[in-house]
């Protein structure tokens, strides 16, 4: 599995994007009130990194080999602990300068990574070779635009920052995203196991 992992994951892109997350969170930690949109942008990158790692450019060949889809998904999902670990490290280092909602921020990252993993696994199971590229092209800029524009902050705070914002609703939304992603991922993996 390690050999497959080393060769299959786009490491240069993964490391570059992870480095950008660290840079963005450094700016957020330095000037939280001004730079907060970069927190949502970094969360978009977490989904992007997970999605890019799910692509199988040689799917036409690889899908005919004995290794089942779930095995390859499990190997490629190794980027998730890497990127979540980086995120948590950023949060811990900057903890004193960020709003006191550590576990909420962890939930946001888990939701983003889970969503990317669920969508790309589902589409890989349907025979799409590179679902990550298309998904990342949507989720990264959309997260960035939502973080900048902050529409409907009263009704649906996606990336809350101020104490007056509705953190409870936001927590519910992110918990629903994470749970829904886990359900979709489980369904896709069970489907893959049955096929195998």
């Amino acid at each position: 599995m390690t050999r497959y992992l080393v060769q299959a994951v786009p490491w240069r892109l993964t490391i570059a994007a992870t480095g950008i997350i660290v840079g963005l969170m450094t700016l957020v930690a330095r000037w939280p009130a001004v730079m907060w949109p970069l927190q949502g942008t970094a969360l978009g990158l977490i989904a992007g990194i997970t999605a890019w790692a799910s692509d199988e450019p040689a799917a036409q060949v690889v899908d005919t080999l004995p290794r089942p889809l779930w095995w390859r998904i499990a190997a490629r999902a190794a980027v998730v602990p890497l990127v979540l670990g980086t995120w948590i490290a950023c949060l811990l280092v900057a903890r004193s300068r960020l709003p006191d909602h550590f576990w909420f921020f962890v939930l946001q990252a888990a939701g983003m990574a889970g969503l990317a993993l669920a969508v790309t696994t589902w589409r890989r199971g349907r025979g799409v070779a590179e679902p990550g590229r298309a998904f990342a092209a949507i989720v990264v800029p959309t997260a960035t635009a939502l973080a900048l524009a902050r529409p409907f902050t009263q009704q649906l705070p996606v990336f809350p920052v101020w104490p007056s914002e509705d953190w409870h609703t936001s927590r519910t939304v992110w918990a629903a995203v994470t749970t829904g992603s886990c359900v979709i991922l489980a369904a896709a993996l069970i489907r893959s196991l049955r096929k195998a």
Partner: protein, 291 residues
């Protein structure tokens, strides 16, 4: 006669390609999300202390940033289709020109947003302690909104064509978008040492509740000339088209070189004028934010 026939054919190919690319762009999920976000800002009364001014970030992000990634994907797809076709039916430069004309669609949406923002400014005037204030008249307001709301909507997709042509690798366009946002936030005018040079960025603010000692929401009006800044952004958009066309070796004619050179010189001059003319230094609204 042959030249006339070839020109007519190229013209007709450009028209057909533009129509096709426009249809593809209009139905791209990122464009639809951007339009919905932009339209959402026009529903109801805007932020009271600045009317629609602070909403300019929405078309810039929704049509510009999303447009960058959408257009890069569309450019890459067009190049892939051309490669798959083997002998290309039209030169790359015609395809690039069609994509550049397609960018007029988000620009039009941006212009409509600017028209709404100008109307909102008159319909719901900002209070005396709001923004803009003092020397910022209608012309100043229009130029700033044009640059922030409309030229961002044009420049993002045009930059997307450049990225799609030169850097078609996986993940490049979203990462360019993220880096652009990070740099633009640093240059938005919050940090005093960067205020005069902030106009080099394709998006920046011209004031707002930046605050002073003792009143952290006090409205400031930042230095520079938004009119020249809008002209500078127009030059940047032109340079993006030239750079995208340059990717096709057959398009590298002396005329294109001349246009590129002229636009570069104009961009430098207008940027310097945006920096050193207009409002001389940061102005503080004489009325406190809570008044």
């Amino acid at each position: 006669m042959t030249t006339t026939a070839t020109t007519a054919r190229t013209g007709s190919a450009l028209g057909q390609l533009t129509a096709m690319e426009l249809r593809r762009y209009a139905t791209h999920p990122l464009f639809i999300i951007g339009v919905l976000l932009t339209v959402a800002t026009t529903v109801g009364r805007p932020d009271q202390p600045s009317s629609g001014f602070f909403n300019a970030i929405v078309p810039a992000a929704g049509l510009g940033i999303l447009g960058l990634v959408a257009m890069a994907a569309q450019t890459r797809k067009a190049a892939t289709l051309n490669r798959a076709a083997g002998v290309t039916p039209v030169p790359e430069r015609v395809q690039t020109a069609a994509l550049a004309l397609t960018a007029l669609l988000p620009f039009t949406v941006g212009l409509l947003w600017v028209a709404w923002a100008m109307w909102a400014q008159h319909h719901w005037p900002v209070p005396d302690n709001g923004f803009p204030f003092g020397p910022a008249g209608d012309g100043w307001t229009f130029a700033a909104l044009l640059g922030e709301g409309a030229f961002s909507a044009l420049g993002g997709p045009l930059l997307g064509i450049v990225v799609g042509r030169y850097l078609p690798q996986r993940g490049t366009a979203p990462i360019v978008a993220v880096l652009l946002v990070a740099v633009a936030i640093v240059f938005q005018g919050i940090f005093e040492p960067l205020r005069s040079v902030r106009v080099i960025m394709p998006f920046t603010y011209w004031g707002g509740p930046i605050g002073v000692e003792g009143d952290d929401m006090r409205m400031l009006l930042l230095s520079g000339s938004p009119g020249w800044w809008a002209a500078y952004l127009g030059c940047l958009c032109g340079l993006a088209v030239v750079a995208a066309l340059w990717h096709d070796p057959s398009a590298r004619t002396p005329a294109l070189r001349l246009v590129g050179g002229a636009l570069f010189v104009a961009a430098v001059v207008t940027c310097l004028l945006a920096m050193f003319t207009g409002v001389e230094h940061t102005l503080v609204n004489p009325l406190p934010s809570g008044a």
